[in-house]
Amino acid sequence: MLVPDRQSDDATVRRLTQELDLMQLRLRTVREESESANEELRAANEELQSINEEYRSTSEELETSKEELQSINEELQTVNSELKLKLEAVSRAHSDLQNLMAATDIGTLFLDSDLRIKRYTDRITDSFSITLNDEGRPITDFAHQLEYEDLVKDAQIVLADLTPIQREVRSRGGRWYDVRIRPYRTVENKIDGVVLTIIDVTDWHQVNLTLQASEQLLQQKQHLVDLSRDPIFVWDFDGGLVEWNRGSEELYGFTRDEALGKRKEDLLHPTVPGSSFAQLKAKLLQDGSWAGEVWQKAKDGRDVIVETRLHLENFNNRRLVLESTHDVTASRAIERRLRLLLSELTHRVRNTLAVIQAIARHTLRNSQSKEDFVARFEGRLAALASAHTLLVGSDWKGADLAELARQQLAPYITDNPDRLRLQGEPILLPADLATPFGLILHELATNAAKYGSLSVLSGTVSVSWTTSRRNNERLFKLVWMEGGGPRPSKSKADGFGNTLINSVITGAHVEREFRPAGFVCTLEIALPEVADDGAVGGLH
């Protein structure tokens, strides 16, 4: 150690002690400062530590959040894709809808709850003059082409009642539209306005009208068919009857219920004259139609002859036969009768001509001269004619004997008809006897006029007759008695009358007596039984 100079050393010591004091003060200060700094540091440290803690926890939270965000992000991405898909779907749906609307030609108008225009399809512009600019304007601002005054009112009703309204209306242009107003429901089932759809149904309307007209026409035809008195019916070629009108019921006797479903063959038993029903069907199949005469049976067994027309039609995969018949039973019967009558007439005429011929031939053989022939022939012809007249008058049933006698004697007793006396019950001589009898009476009268009682004014002729029965036969006896005339002698007249009498009266009795008082002739013959209708022999 150095021993410093004391004064200098004191000064230095003082200085140093001052410096030291100072230093010590400074140190103390510094120490205090340092302590406070330390404290502060400590505090700061503590703060930092707590901050650090906070940061740590925040960091953790951030970490968590980050994870959450990540997952949200993923979700969002998924949702995004879904949304994209949905958007595409909606877009497609929208295109589809537009195309659908365009394809179906439906005019659609969407109105909101205040009846303002939301959107619409093109077709609507046919009826409403609206453009895209008009979206949002109330529909009441616009006129429309439809004859539908209450359109807006109906829309309001739909909005209020939530029940749809449908109407068919005409447009001013003459077309027909199906207008439907429905409430607009969102997917949440909220009402958000109305939807108007307008569909042009003019064609359908036309078809409907045509259909109605057709139906009316059909009804008319049906009534006509039913009015017809003639049978009109339809049968399935392979089955039974499908139609049966009133005319059929009336002619055949089967009601509609009884007839439908049954086979025509089983019901009416048709036969075809000169052919068969099977052949008829075959021909029908071949030609598509058939017409001709058919014989059928009615329900009560009555025979029915009809003229029928058939027509085969393919209808809905069925072969149907339309048939219309006309009852000719009566007219065929009449025709048959006419033919018979004509035949009968021919027969009679020819027979009569032959009879006249016979009389002429006989007269000719036995006449003395031309004048003689003429006189006799004319006389006999007249007798024949008057006998015929009597027969015709009775429709060929027969001639009344008394009338015949009067007729044949008439030419000879014109001055005094009482010269002829008739006695006997009324008797009708059958036609085939009347003529010869008339001629016989004529002969007897002629002879009486020439040689017998009628040759004098006071002469008389009495004709009397009786009928009786013997052995199941009707016997007829006639007596011709002349009186008040010259004495008779066997006449020189030709034997026509005699021959005739002999021929007529086969197997019976003839007597000729030349009594002084006058000629008497007795005939006895068997009369044929008279038929119920009065006609006898050869008159059918």
């Binding site: 005429v349 032959a354 009389i359 031939r361 006449s367 021929s503």
Partner: protein, 132 residues
């Protein structure tokens, strides 16, 4: 004068022939008998109904017959069949129309229409007689 309605050339056409007549009208029957006699025939029978005619056809010796088609309400078809089966020739003398169904059976047989001339009747009978 008396007239012959059958001329001399035919006066013997049916000489000795036995003829049956079936006819219901007396006047026509008389007439036919007279004509046939004039032609020399013998009247084997004059029948006015089918029953008589059938008997005569069976029992009498007949060379030829003349038949009305309708006698009374009947047809002489049975008589014709009987004669045909015996080989006896005959003709029809009728007022029926030509296409009468009753005559359908006898197509090919001689059918004379009323009224016929005397000569036609005689010729027809002679014709069928000599055909056999």
């Amino acid at each position: 004068m008396t007239e012959q309605l059958v001329d001399s050339t035919r006066a013997t056409a049916l000489r000795g022939t036995r003829v049956m007549i079936v006819e219901d009208d007396v006047l026509l029957l008389m007439d036919l008998e007279a004509i046939l006699r004039e032609a020399g025939a013998e009247i084997a029978g004059g029948c006015r109904n089918v029953a008589e005619a059938l008997v005569a056809a069976r029992d009498c010796d007949i060379a030829v017959a003349i038949l009305d088609v309708r006698v009374g309400r009947e047809t002489t078809a049975p008589v014709a069949r009987q004669l045909a089966s015996r080989g006896t020739p005959f003709i029809f003398y009728t007022g029926q129309v030509e296409n009468d169904p009753q005559l359908a059976e006898w197509a090919g047989y001689t059918i004379l229409s009323k009224p016929a001339r005397a000569s036609a009747i005689v010729d027809a009978l002679a014709g069928v007689l000599h055909r056999n």
